[in-house]
Amino acid sequence: SQQGEEDPQALSIQEGENATMNCSYKTSINNLQWYRQNSGRGLVHLILIRSNEREKHSGRLRVTLDTSKKSSSLLITASRAADTASYFCATDGAGRRALTFGSGTRLQVQP
């Protein structure tokens, strides 16, 4: 079964607005990663947050991690039409040796 659940499943916003996506997972992790998938393309790594970190920034991306709640959020600030894609969280679990992906959030940014 899927490790993670993401919400919302779909999100539509206007350019310039912020987009927040949430991810929940079930087991202990080494780290949690976020990936972007443009339509018909492969996944591209965005950011990684370790299990002992609570917040991380990279450009317009801000990721938080709450291991007590087994949840993470991805915030994209000042969104652009080019941010339109599906976003997936993925967990690297202890001893797992492969990423386990969430169900994904489809983000549509209207120009």
Binding site: R41, G42, D92, A98
Partner: protein, 113 residues
């Protein structure tokens, strides 16, 4: 240069046929993976190889057989294709160790008719 490349990008075939998908990475990574993405966009690990050795073999039908001739290549052979095998198959690679990201190929969209 493409880091992880897989071929073909599209594959349309009839039920019962046998097909292969090839994957190559030029990143020098030790670990390679096959993931399956279904029509609802769920991504699930199928296999993982580390230095040509099978590490993960999820609950995948025996009709699926991965082959890793060297650590830069991981091919996927599928026998007796079924309608339910239709999906997008992604190859990926990563370096051994903790806190490493995975690099994905562009995907192979398999349609079984």
């Amino acid at each position: 240069d493409t880091a992880v490349s897989q071929t073909p990008k599209y594959l349309v075939t009839q039920m019962g046929n046998d097909k292969s998908i090839k994957c190559e990475q030029n990143l020098g990574h030790d670990t390679m993976y096959w993931y399956k993405q279904d029509s609802k966009k769920f991504l699930k690990i199928m296999f993982s190889y580390n230095n040509k050795e099978l590490i993960i073999n999820e609950t995948v039908p025996n009709r699926f057989s991965p082959k890793s001739p060297d650590k830069a290549h991981l091919n996927l052979h599928i026998n007796s294709l079924e309608l339910g095998d239709s999906a997008v198959y992604f190859c990926a690679s990563s370096q051994v160790g903790t806190d490493t990201e995975a690099f994905f190929g562009q995907g192979t969209r398999l349609t079984v008719v």
